[in-house]
Symmetry: C2
Subunit: 774 residues, 2 copies
């Protein structure tokens, strides 16, 4: 755990340079706009610790898989997020010395990410080897208003010298992925051009043939006045630059305004790529830095209007939640159903493919409550578009008749991952994808999504469960053998409770959906049964039998469900009893030791108690929490959030608060010692859930919002907004009261602590806070 980041309500601040943490800071202060993004790398050369990273959404490379021992059914390729052109680069020389913070004394360094406006600013004074001091202010953003555009304003001041300064703004497409399996470069140059004050490189991804045109255009100002300059043009493989010399006198301020464009062939024909990119860039250049920044900041403020969470009296918690929301917003803007939410967003390249079950289980709730319903719907459509590939994947593994197994990791619908215990066995993901359809409809009321998309996906998944399960003559029950649950510290177990539960639930829900379709639109339904060769009678009767006779491992003496068969054979020592130096286990224990231990990486049985809480009384949930949480090591970023929500529900507010801090400050404090690879973007959806569902007690039942706020002791209050079926409601909590304000033009009926309240349009209702159970 680290704590060099300054606590602040709206900013992420590094005060004084921490070169040893530079890769972490680069991750934390990454910028993105849903279509492109980059890490908080320095503009000028830096020879110290750094992980250069610029990314363009939707562009990937199918890297040949590196695997020790092949298993039948493995994919040949692992689609990877690509490191793309560096467009932020501006190299500098003062006299003959290169400006490189690794090679000079650094004074008054400050780097800050202003989350309110989406701007990264860095200031420092560098003292070069020859004693010359230069004061720098660099500010940049990735425009939310023009998602192809980024802009930088880089100012340097000659503190104690007069000297020639050399400025080299460049575009460098000759980049590598550090996780390339065979140290291959993935981009080939298509064309490039360089002229006075501008330059372009267009490159193509090997195999997938995506093209991206990246360009720059810049102006130079001296003491605020634009100057004419002479530029030497430079070009080499996948690289263009201008080399500009400017004479500075003592006290002079030199400003470079560099504008960048990234346009991919996903958004423009290859033929027009260069021209269109140039149009965007020229327009941005004309509009200028201040204008672009203003547009950009306004849009960010609009995002905050609907999605901000205010916490009073706890700046660490405040910074944490805003950081999570900021990162989610800049990763996915919801306009393009071909895109999804990568586990690292635009902050790193680890974990390759962009889509995990994280999206459905941890991110969709955030977008449902803070964005138009189209955004969540696009995330669902993404899976519907991949249905055929999920069916092919099922076939590859020996299933048939349209059984769909969605991939564990994907970029284009094909499976990317190959650890057999995950790829083939972590099949609860299929359930999470089904549940997201239910969740979307529960929230939005938009049952129309079922016809045909929702139904088609549910049918494929239900068929999978029906084939994957087998009858145990011994138990006289249906069993699911050889699975891995969300807790990846167990592999190839039998009857994982959560997997069995979500399989059973999928079948039940699909049956409900079928009944609704038949009553609502029999004609369309009949078309669909024909299209999918769906033998309703035979298939649903098997489903019904499975629903009735599926097995759930139990311990009667403790009156709990067991995570899997044989769980009680383990040595059940609580995690708290482990030596601190052995944590995290995944960095200190051998894999076999982890596997036979009772320790739980992330909510597994409790994941079901979160999803299906309506089926259990609070006492039952508490009993399971009391058994499983002490064995849980939370070594997945997806763990603390679910536990926060459950802890809040069952009356463990201190535990809820502890785990909330852990999830919301996971990256800021580098809990898992891996933020340098990038931030845990998808778990940030979980942080939002832990706040709104945990502290806010928000649920949706029978088409109505429910709230049951609790307030952590340390806090004075908090407030958040929720979009729900065309209305906006603000919940504000302090130590005494809960205030609900209806920001929309229609009455809202909602449930607070179990009591229905009707709030007229534009009005508010205040009720006493209490800490009863939800």
């Amino acid at each position: 755990m680290k704590d060099y980041i300054i606590h602040d309500g709206w900013k992420i601040i590094e005060e004084g340079f921490h070169p040893e943490h530079n890769k972490i800071t680069e991750s934390l202060m990454s910028l993105g706009n849903g279509r492109m993004g980059h890490r908080a790398n320095f503009e000028e050369k830096y020879s110290g610790l750094t992980l250069p990273g610029s990314y363009v959404a939707g562009v990937y490379y199918p890297d040949k898989t590196r695997v020790g021992w092949w298993k039948n059914g493995y994919p040949e390729y692992f689609a990877k997020v690509l490191n793309a052109a560096n467009w932020i680069g501006i190299n500098l020389r003062i006299g003959n010395l290169v400006l490189d913070l690794n090679q000079c004394k650094v004074h008054n360094f400050r780097r800050e990410l202003d989350m309110m406006n989406g701007v990264l600013t860095r200031t420092f004074t560098a003292e070069l080897e020859d004693g010359k001091q230069v004061r720098v202010t660099a500010r940049r953003f990735a425009s939310i208003a023009h998602s192809e555009i980024g802009a930088i304003r880089y100012t340097l001041e000659a503190v104690n010298f007069s000297e020639k300064v050399t400025i080299v703004p460049y575009i460098d497409f000759d980049v590598v992925n550090t996780d390339a399996n065979y140290d291959e470069k993935f981009w080939d140059e298509v064309n490039k051009s360089v002229a006075h004050g501008e330059g372009y490189v267009t490159a193509e991804v090997r195999k997938t043939l995506f093209q991206v045109c990246t360009g720059m255009k810049f102006r130079i100002l001296k003491n605020g006045e634009m100057i004419r300059f002479h530029a030497d043009l430079e070009e080499r493989q996948k690289y263009v630059s201008n080399i500009v010399n400017v004479q500075l006198e003592l006290g002079d301020k030199l400003t470079i305004e560099k504008y960048g464009v990234n346009l991919s062939s996903e958004y423009c024909s290859k033929k027009n790529l260069n021209n269109t990119a140039a149009q965007h860039l020229n327009q941005a250049f004309e509009q200028g830095f201040d204008h672009l920044l203003q547009e950009h900041a306004q849009l960010w403020q609009k995002k905050w209007e609907t999605s901000d969470i205010l916490i009073k009296g706890d700046v660490a918690a405040q910074q944490g939640i805003r950081f999570n929301i900021f990162q989610l917003q800049q990763t996915y803007t919801g306009e393009d159903e071909r895109l999804n939410i990568g586990p690292k967003g635009f902050t790193g390249e680890k974990y390759g493919g962009s889509t995990y079950w994280d999206t459905e289980a941890y991110c969709i709730p955030f977008f449902l409550a803070t964005a138009p319903s189209k955004v969540a719907q696009n995330l669902l459509s993404y899976r519907h578009k991949h249905l055929q590939k999920a069916i092919e994947n099922g076939k590859k593994l020996g299933f048939n008749s349209g059984a769909a197994l969605y991939p564990m990791v994907t970029m284009n619908g094909e499976e990317c991952h190959n650890e057999w215990e995950i790829t083939f066995e972590e099949i609860h993901r299929n359930g999470a994808i089904a549940f997201a359809i239910y969740d979307y409809i529960r929230y939005t009321g938009d049952k129309g999504y079922l016809l045909p998309k929702g139904f088609e996906v549910l049918l494929g998944i239900s068929r999978f469960w029906s084939q994957r399960i087998n009858w145990s003559a011994e138990k006289q029950k249906y069993v699911l053998l050889g699975v891995t649950g969300p807790n990846e510290y167990e592999n190839n177990v039998n009857n994982n409770f959560h997997t069995n539960k979500i399989a059973q639930w999928t079948l039940k829900y699909t049956l409900e959906v079928i009944e609704w379709l038949k009553s609502e639109n029999l004609k369309e339904y009949n078309k669909l049964t024909a299209k999918w060769n769906f033998d309703e009678t035979a298939e649903t009767s098997r489903w019904k039998e499975i629903i009735e006779k599926i097995y759930f491992p139990r311990d009667e003496s403790r009156d709990i469900f067991l995570q899997q068969d044989g769980f009680l054979d383990k040595d059940l020592v609580p995690a708290a009893a482990l030596p601190v130096k052995e944590r995290p286990l995944n960095q200190n224990w051998s894999w076999d030791r982890i596997l036979r231990s009772p320790y739980i990486k992330q909510a597994d049985t409790l994941q079901s108690f979160y999803l299906f809480e309506g089926e259990y009384d609070t006492e039952t949930i508490r009993r399971h929490f009391d058994f499983y949480e002490p064995l849980t090591v939370h070594e997945s970023s997806l763990s603390p959030c679910i536990h926060t929500i459950l802890a809040a529900k069952i009356g463990y507010p201190a535990k809820a608060y502890e785990l909330y801090l852990r999830t919301s400050r996971l990256d800021l404090d580098d809990y898992n010692n891996d933020t340098e690879d990038g931030c845990h973007i998808t778990s940030m959806g979980g942080t939002w859930m832990s706040f709104v569902q945990g502290f806010g007690g928000m649920r949706v039942k029978n088409g109505k919002l429910h709230f049951a706020p609790i307030l952590p002791e340390k806090w004075e209050g908090y407030s958040f907004n929720i979009n729900f079926r065309g209305t906006t409601i603000q919940i504000e909590v302090n130590k005494k009261e809960v205030m609900m304000e209806n920001h929309s033009s229609q009455e809202i009926k909602l449930m607070v602590y179990g009591t229905e309240l009707a709030i007229p349009a534009g009005s508010q209702i205040i009720t006493e806070i209490n800490t009863r159970m939800i």
Copy 2:
């Protein structure tokens, strides 16, 4: 399955060229002498399907592991058997055309391996593009008498032409391993030299720095007369050759006698490597082909005297058993305790490291019965030499206090393998290594081996079991969680019967050994307990508790032990009911489907019933066989042999015969479709076991040999020899009688069908054959 190999009692014959099977034939007809070996590649250039392979024992490269997803505890390197210099090569040109059987018409092709004499002969007539016909006879061997030396006699006859012939004998050390993880070459040239009629290349293995000097020397004869010739000398990177032109007239016969030497720095200082190699080679050259061949053939015949098995009335079975014995004998000669028996011997490079548990479980019995006891002892010592590394391996996985986990695959004592489910979990191997010590002592009576070697290894292994096991509060028993049994079609299971059984057995046996050591040599024993910090009271009392309270999964209704917890939850459809086109499963089913199926790759529970048959009555063994064998797919080469022995014991002779044919002709008939990668050398020990223990009913109990021969219906009879504690006994069986002949100079007492017989020195006893149970 293929059947192009001609059935013959002493020879492996390919009649007519089968280029499509060439890699298989190359494997089958490989030659070796324990120190070096090579596949049956052609001497002359061949542009068709071929897997070039020459190997030098004990020389390996630690190839950087290629693995998809790292697990803590994995080794960094995978030690690989190395493809070494090609010393057999002789390129030929007739006029301007290269002799390449892939580029001409081939007539009267025949390739045969004479197993009696250890000689490979190839004859053919090649018709070149221009119509010229050349008749070739090529014969070679790897000398058993001089294990650095190989010799070739290559004769070609100008059938229908007069023309200049170009002969290019060469040494090529510029070789690759086809399984190199990063397409790297593993050898660097140290020096080379080439002169008229000879040449040498010395190369060094990267990282491990083994050096090997490979040389050639040749003479040329025309129509039987040695000729003088002019040679152009050629050298390039790691390659030397002579280019010799000879004018042939119609009917002329040209013979090249090429002698090769392979000397490694394991057997000679690097300084003297070249000189010593040259001495060996010069001597061989002087002795000449016929002399060397004669010496070689005599030694082979001596090997056969003690190890041959004669089968009357079934040439396929005869060829099978001799092929297995031949390959075992040429892979391991038992003189060097640094060497072991690689799964592919000198027939291929697959599976990397040289040592698996196969050696202990399948090969030691063969060497015990057919070679001096020193040979088996060297194989045991090999593990003792690696004890410290096994302890380090244990530490790496979280064990302590001298707990030893021997590697799954190794070349130098370090673990080479990284599939977590095997590397960390297939721990029954540790038991096999312990059992081999018992087996050796049971056979030889040499208890002295326990002091200290045997004891030290047993202590390390027992400590491992004691730490690996845990107490199940639920079961009130000790359980072994997260293991993989011999049946690798199950992974990460709990309480694998065989693993639990062999763990319990190891602890019991170690306790016995301790009692014996204390009574026999207390002083030495006390030294050993001090050396190993062995707290006898505390450690053995835990062992005793484990022995008493270890858990074995059972099905009471069937009265059988279960392969593992939860086995009965599977869908128990017999393997015979599977569609033929889906077999072998490992080539047709996805890995997850295999895992959740009930199908058994090789003897698992039955492995225990084989090893510990004395603890069970025949009816119990039959009950387990009847349950498990129908679920067994025998997709490991190590499976049929154990089943043959059990089937013979429990009165299923037809089953025994079926599985015996499968094991003995596994490679000859390419049952598993993988002989092209090399032969299954270690399973050949299993074939021998299946014959002698299965049909011969041989056991050793209480220091005495037991026999209970049965005769498969199809056979007229068989005979084999057994070395036992300084005596040699021949067992001959026909349809009526069993004849036992004592070939030694002392009386032998042995048990036949449960009756003790005393056979005077040099005498024989005949008894009626019966088919009662053993």
